[in-house]
């Protein structure tokens, strides 16, 4: 399983190409908010940039916080979100320890699905997909997790 990582954010120039690509390609929106990766400064433009993105927790606190089962654990970390089940309560965003989940005006959640589509748009290779061992999710054996 692969997850999105941000190993070289020191190279980031703040172009927002990753966020715009995610919104455009995954969520079909023109936005730098409704995206699985969002960029902000560390403390002003003279201080460099930081990424807000899902760190692929396993177990993910947002899964536990979701009252309807809209969030489920993704193999290898992170979550799978079934928006049909989402009641827009915003509990997932509150539970995320790294502010990786964006809620729009209707409280619709946007979180990284580790799909890799943003990666090629970064001009400085700040972000990359990384292979991780698939930890078993609840109810799975280790063998089942790797299958």
């Amino acid at each position: 399983m692969k997850i999105l990582t941000t190993p070289r954010m020191e190279r980031c120039i703040g172009c927002h190409s990753c966020s715009l690509a995610c919104a455009r390609l995954v969520h079909k929106r023109l936005s730098w908010d409704t995206a699985g990766i969002r960029i902000s400064t560390s403390g002003g433009l003279s201080t460099g940039f930081e990424a807000r993105n899902c760190l692929a927790c396993n177990p993910a606190p947002c899964v536990n916080a979701c009252p309807t089962g809209a969030y489920s654990q993704r193999k290898g970390g992170g979550v799978v979100v079934r928006k049909k089940l989402c009641i827009r309560c915003g509990e997932c965003a509150k539970a995320c320890p790294v502010d990786a989940i964006y809620l729009d005006l209707t409280s619709e959640p946007f979180v990284c699905i580790h799909c890799s589509r943003c990666v090629k748009y970064c001009p400085h290779d700040c972000i990359e997909m990384k292979e991780v061992a698939a930890e078993p999710v609840e109810g799975e054996t280790a063998e089942e997790a790797q299958s």
């Binding site: 120039i13 703040g14 172009c15 927002h16 190409s17 715009l20 919104a23 455009r24 390609l25 079909k28 929106r29 023109l30 936005s31 730098w32 908010d33 409704t34 969002r38 960029i39 902000s40 400064t41 403390g43 002003g44 433009l45 003279s46 460099g48 940039f49 729009d104 748009y121 001009p123 400085h124």
Partner: protein, 585 residues
């Protein structure tokens, strides 16, 4: 958001009231430069001075802003304190995308606040906040406070002025997001006279994308051209400072108030030297993967005990020319030192550098004395220029107050017009010859970006004023459409007419795409007509003697060709502005 009208936020600082106005004309003026001219005609007062409280300060974006890469600039329009005429100044940074995501095509600020204020706005909020405690602060301190006062880190733009703007200096810029500027023709003073210290724009809305197959395909095509080909490598690599050596080699770099066009020691401020020893990192305007913003560093030892501080200063060809070669300062760190002061004060670097170059020569010639300049200005003496920049921004004495109105204004009072390097405003960093001098002297923005006169000078061919004027007019028409989109002009090699048409069509502006040629011609006329309505007379513009004394790789300047070309171009501009196109009213 795709719409066949413009959604404009107007804010009146006198009353404190705001309004959302829907303005028609999308298929006539497109956006950006065209929209700004349309809005100035709606809200501006052609017969009142620039500092009349009712004069508007306009920020406009275009139909493609945010939808495609490098559609990342904002057009600022106002009546200029420099010449009291209609003017445009453009900047990158984040303001274009934040206006897009604030769901606005333009912002129009009129009136004058009773006390210093900042504006904070987004798609769902508008606030006018009293900030008397920020008045007097420099650009960087102001930016840091505004960051803490308003929300939206990363997805906002902070525009602000420094002491020069507060003082109403015609050389004051508006700083955009620390490293970019609405630099020329005094936009900072327009904010200053409105008691407007800063504007924080939060881009907090999002929009559905066009549901068709063309948009994603064209986006990929554009992105690939901008990133995979070498079309943008100049800007990605050394950046615009690559021009320093190139121009020096062909004897076309203004040096020491244009007393020379090259210098054997120019390597100390070359793009290569900056990259080798002073380049700290790069930054990008929002929506631009090229990232041409080059940020250098200077460090300063402030105590005997090896205690240092460091500063980050963005550099480009134009600031290097204006505070480097033009002032005879040929050490990149000393150039960054001067630029840092200019940034803090909120001055336009090109105007202020060229003005001090004139002052230095005037002092050398004994036309003025140190009682005027306060500090001993001398080519190459960076410390003197750092201090003089502060005097220029603060208007410390009558001399600096006059100089801040323009080098020609000072030359009128103190003499020395022959060596005032002014082409409509203080010159840009190209001494390529007759076509560029004409282009900047008469160009709409008096900018090297109005049309590629500097490039035309470098092409072999006969000296034909008619053909050169044809080129300038046609090139301006193409550029004015790009600045109505609003594209970064560095992408002009990618965004040709055919591609622009497909871009517009793919996001839903089919009508605009089908009549781009008519629309660009219309915008070109509308801008000139607006400029003329505020008093511009191209026949009154003179090109100082210094420009005729230089020698470039082509040899001496052909004064007869320069005169003929200037007259011819003036005639063409007047015809454009006088053309009674029904759409221009």
């Amino acid at each position: 958001m795709i719409r066949d009208f413009f959604r404009v936020l107007t804010i009146n600082l006198t009353s404190g009231r705001s309004t959302i106005v829907e303005v028609g004309g999308r298929n006539e003026v497109a956006g950006g430069s065209g929209l700004a001219a349309l809005l100035f005609n709606k809200y501006g007062q052609t017969d009142k001075p620039w500092d009349d409280p009712e004069q508007p300060l306009i920020f406009a974006i275009g139909p493609l802003t945010g939808y495609f890469p490098l559609m990342s600039k904002t057009v600022c329009a106002f009546k200029s304190p420099y010449h009291n005429q209609y003017a445009e100044s453009h900047a990158g940074g984040r303001s274009a995308l934040t206006l897009r995501f604030a769901d606005l095509d333009a912002l129009v600020i009129t009136g004058k606040a009773a006390r210093p204020v900042c504006i904070s706005l987004g798609s769902r909020h508008i606030e006018i906040k009293e900030v008397h405690y920020l008045w007097g602060m420099d650009i960087f301190a102001t930016g840091k406070y505004l960051r803490h006062m308003f929300r939206g880190s990363g997805h906002r733009s902070i525009l602000r002025i420094g002491p020069a703007g507060e003082k109403g200096s015609p050389m004051a810029c508006i700083n955009a997001d620390t490293y970019r500027h609405f630099g020329r023709l005094g936009s900072g003073a327009v904010m200053g006279v409105k008691n407007l210290k800063g504007i924080a724009i939060q881009g907090d809305a999002s929009f559905p994308l066009p549901e068709n197959k063309d948009y994603p395909k064209i986006f990929e095509e554009v992105h690939k051209q901008l990133t995979d080909t070498d079309m943008m490598s100049k800007y990605h690599n050394l950046g615009t400072p690559v021009n320093v050596i190139a121009l020096n080699d062909i004897k076309a770099l203004p040096v020491r108030n244009l007393q020379q066009t090259s210098d054997p020691n120019i390597a100390g401020i070359s793009g290569e030297k900056f990259a080798e020893v002073a380049l700290l990192r790069n930054n990008a305007c929002s929506g631009c993967p090229v990232g041409c913003i080059h940020i250098g560093f200077v460090r300063e030892r402030f105590s005997e005990e090896n205690r240092y501080l460091y500063r980050q200063v963005a550099y480009d060809h134009e600031p290097i020319f204006a505070t480097g070669s033009m002032l005879g300062v040929l050490d990149c760190f000393r150039v960054l030192d001067i630029m840092d002061v200019v940034e803090r004060m909120g001055l336009d670097v090109m105007s202020s550098g060229v003005a001090l170059a004139w002052a230095t020569e005037a002092l050398e010639k004994g036309i003025i004395s140190e009682s005027e300049t306060i500090v001993p200005l001398k080519f190459g003496y960076a410390e003197g220029y750092k201090e003089a920049m502060q005097h220029l921004a603060m208007g410390t004495n009558e001399f600096y107050q006059t100089l801040s109105k323009g080098t020609l204004a000072a030359a009128e009072q103190y003499n020395g017009k022959d060596f005032a390097c002014v082409l409509g405003q203080e010159m840009a960093g190209y001494a390529t010859g007759e076509t560029f001098f004409t282009s900047q002297a008469l160009g709409f923005r008096h900018s090297h970006l109005d049309s590629a006169g500097y490039s035309y000078d470098q092409k072999p061919g006969e000296k034909n004023a008619g053909k050169a004027a044809d080129f300038l007019i046609k090139d301006e028409q193409g550029r004015v459409f790009l600045t109505s989109m609003v594209s970064c002009l560095f992408a002009r090699g990618v965004y040709n007419d055919e591609l622009l048409g497909r871009c517009l069509d793919s996001v839903g502006y089919k009508d605009l795409a089908e009549k781009m040629s008519d629309v660009s011609r219309h915008i070109q006329k509308l801008r000139w007509k607006t400029r003329f309505a505020t008093g511009f007379n191209p026949n009154s513009v003179s090109i100082p003697k210094r420009f005729t004394e230089i020698v470039t790789w082509k040899g001496a300047i052909d004064t007869e060709h320069l005169r003929t070309l200037k007259d011819e171009y003036a005639k063409r501009i007047i015809e454009l502005g006088a053309d009674n196109d029904k759409k221009t009213t």
